[in-house]
Amino acid sequence: MYSYSRKVLVLLLMFLLQACSNLGVNPWERDVLAKPEMSLNYPALVYGFDDHIYFSKEATSGGRGFAGGGCGCN
């Protein structure tokens, strides 16, 4: 299960890289994406709170960023 998952993950990433070359917009079409709430790290502090709670209460952490927790709460 462990090594099989790794192979699936690598193949999926390779597919995504190939698919990405056909997407996107011109610079003058990025008005909506310029809104702060469309930023991927918005709202940053909320994500930080969530990551800390679930790191303390569950066995999985990270994904959005690094998995290390930096506290003795898990």
């Binding site: 299960m1 462990y2 998952s5 790794r6 993950l9 999926l12 990433l13 995504l16 890289l17 990405c20 070359s21 997407l23 996107g24 917009v25 011109n26 610079p27 079409e29 990025r30 008005d31 909506v32 994406l33 310029a34 809104k35 702060p36 709430e37 469309m38 930023s39 991927l40 790290n41 918005y42 709202p43 940053a44 502090l45 909320v46 994500y47 930080g48 709170f49 990551d51 800390h52 709670i53 679930y54 209460k57 569950e58 066995a59 999985t60 990270g62 994904g63 959005r64 960023g65 690094f66 998995a67 290390g68 930096g70 506290c71 003795g72 709460c73 898990n74």
Partner: protein, 429 residues
């Protein structure tokens, strides 16, 4: 406060700061010399168990058009009671505190909770972001966390590369964290009997992470990100405060060390976890502007590790505007994990391990098979200055009962649902 707009730069910066995590609270691009400060407060309350209160202050200083530094200070105050791993009993139970000074008790039929859980943690993190050239950008950061029995120091860094006219950003990051563990009363010898008092010294743990990510603009209204993370931890991964009961092979009752009035002081054994942990995680996030300030955000994470724990996480938020500035954002999170290979709820008398025999075992409910749900709402006001939001959420953990219960254990719930209420306030000055 004047704001600058350069979407390609924002996409790269947003990628870097998202991956860097908590240190970077960049949500809008500032003019050089400007500060953006956010205040936040988190209150977490479990029903009859742990409470946590965390005020936070985060700031971003724009050094130059393309360069910024960010910092964040968190003060965590934890109190309350946490499950110690022992099984409930038909009789009240008494346990020695981890420090060795004093005792705490549990009523009959109740999951034993160690109520000496009280400490304060301070965390400071900082990060610096600056482009290398028009295509390559970098982010370097550090974080230090200190609490009475745990100290952590970590560094991290990212580089990103813009491609496809700035529509695609590739990211590569790495982090290193060194932790020192100094439990109250000393580090217990794994698998030793609590009553023998074999505890001394401190331990260390090292964690290395590597991350590869792709951020992609799909069209004028949407974008997504996919991250692959590999995390490797070595050293002391055991929880020094978690125990396992030893139960009678016929009745299922905890083995008694001594009688304290109407209560029993059961024989308890310290847990033992592997000395290394390797985790893989694939995370995907999609954000789409629907219409009239309605925004959909969803993410999915799959994770697998050599503890035997695999998990799935689905997160969903949807922003509904109530007026030009006010909004409400419902939140739903679903989480499911399998149990660790070495998870077991108790030892059976005659089959308990001895220190050094290589047995791995933990009754920590957080390593059990569980399905968790979070549901909540955020209400806020989006403004150019003094933006704020409040949120209230309900979080419940539902764990699986062991299939091998017998005797008196069959009359008891070893892993009841754990309910918690979360309150959050964020204010952008």
């Amino acid at each position: 406060m004047a704001k600058c707009r350069n979407i390609s730069r924002e996409l790269s910066m947003a990628t870097c700061v998202l991956l860097a995590g908590e240190a970077n609270a960049v949500e809008e691009v500032l003019a050089p010399g400007e500060w953006d400060v956010e205040l936040a407060f988190l209150a977490y309350q479990e029903k009859d168990r742990v409470s946590a209160y965390a005020p936070v202050i985060a700031g971003v200083y724009q050094i130059d058009t393309e360069e910024l530094v960010s910092t964040k200070l968190v003060i965590d105050s934890l109190t309350g009671a946490s499950a110690n791993g022992a099984v409930p009993s038909l009789q009240p139970q008494v346990f020695t505190r981890p420090s060795g000074n004093g005792e705490y008790s549990t009523d009959a039929r109740k999951v034993p909770l160690d109520d000496t859980y009280e400490e304060e943690r301070v965390e400071l993190s900082m990060a610096w972001f600056k482009p290398i050239d028009d295509i390559w950008k970098r982010n370097i950061g550090f974080a230090v966390s200190s609490e009475p029995d745990y100290f952590s120091l970590g560094v991290n860094g990212y580089v990103t590369k813009d491609m496809n006219r700035g529509n695609t950003t590739l990211s590569l990051g790495a982090s290193y964290q060194s932790d020192k563990i100094e439990p109250k009363g000393g580090v217990p010898v794994p698998l030793s009997v609590v009553q023998d008092g074999d505890k001394e010294g401190t331990e260390t743990k090292k964690t290395k992470d590597i991350l590869f990510g792709v951020t992609q603009i799909i069209d004028r209204y949407s974008l997504f990100q996919v991250n692959y993370t590999f995390s490797s931890s070595d050293g002391y991964l055991t929880d020094p405060y978690k125990l396992l009961s030893v139960v009678d092979g016929v009745t299922g009752d905890p083995l008694v060390d001594s009688q304290v009035g109407p209560a029993i002081q059961p024989v308890m054994i310290y847990e033992s976890r592997p000395g290394d942990r390797k985790k893989h995680a694939l995370f995907g996030m999609y954000k789409r502007y629907i219409r009239e300030e309605e925004i959909l955000e969803t993410s999915y994470r799959i994770s697998d590790d050599n503890f035997g724990i695999s998990s799935h996480t689905l997160d969903f938020r949807y922003k509904f505007p109530l007026s030009k500035q006010n909004y409400i954002r419902p939140h739903l999170r679903l989480y499911k994990q399998s149990k660790a290979d070495f998870f077991q709820p108790y030892f059976v008398e005659g089959r308990e391990p001895v220190p050094g025999d290589g047995t791995l075992a933990s009754a920590d409910y957080r390593l059990n098979e569980m399905t968790n749900y979070t549901i909540g709402f955020e209400y806020g006001k989006d403004k150019k200055t003094n933006r704020w939001s409040v949120a209230a959420e309900y979080y419940v953990q539902t764990a699986e009962e062991p299939s091998e219960k017998y005797g008196s254990l069959d009359q008891l719930t070893l892993y009841p649902d754990v309910e918690a209420y979360i309150f959050r306030l964020v204010y952008d000055i």
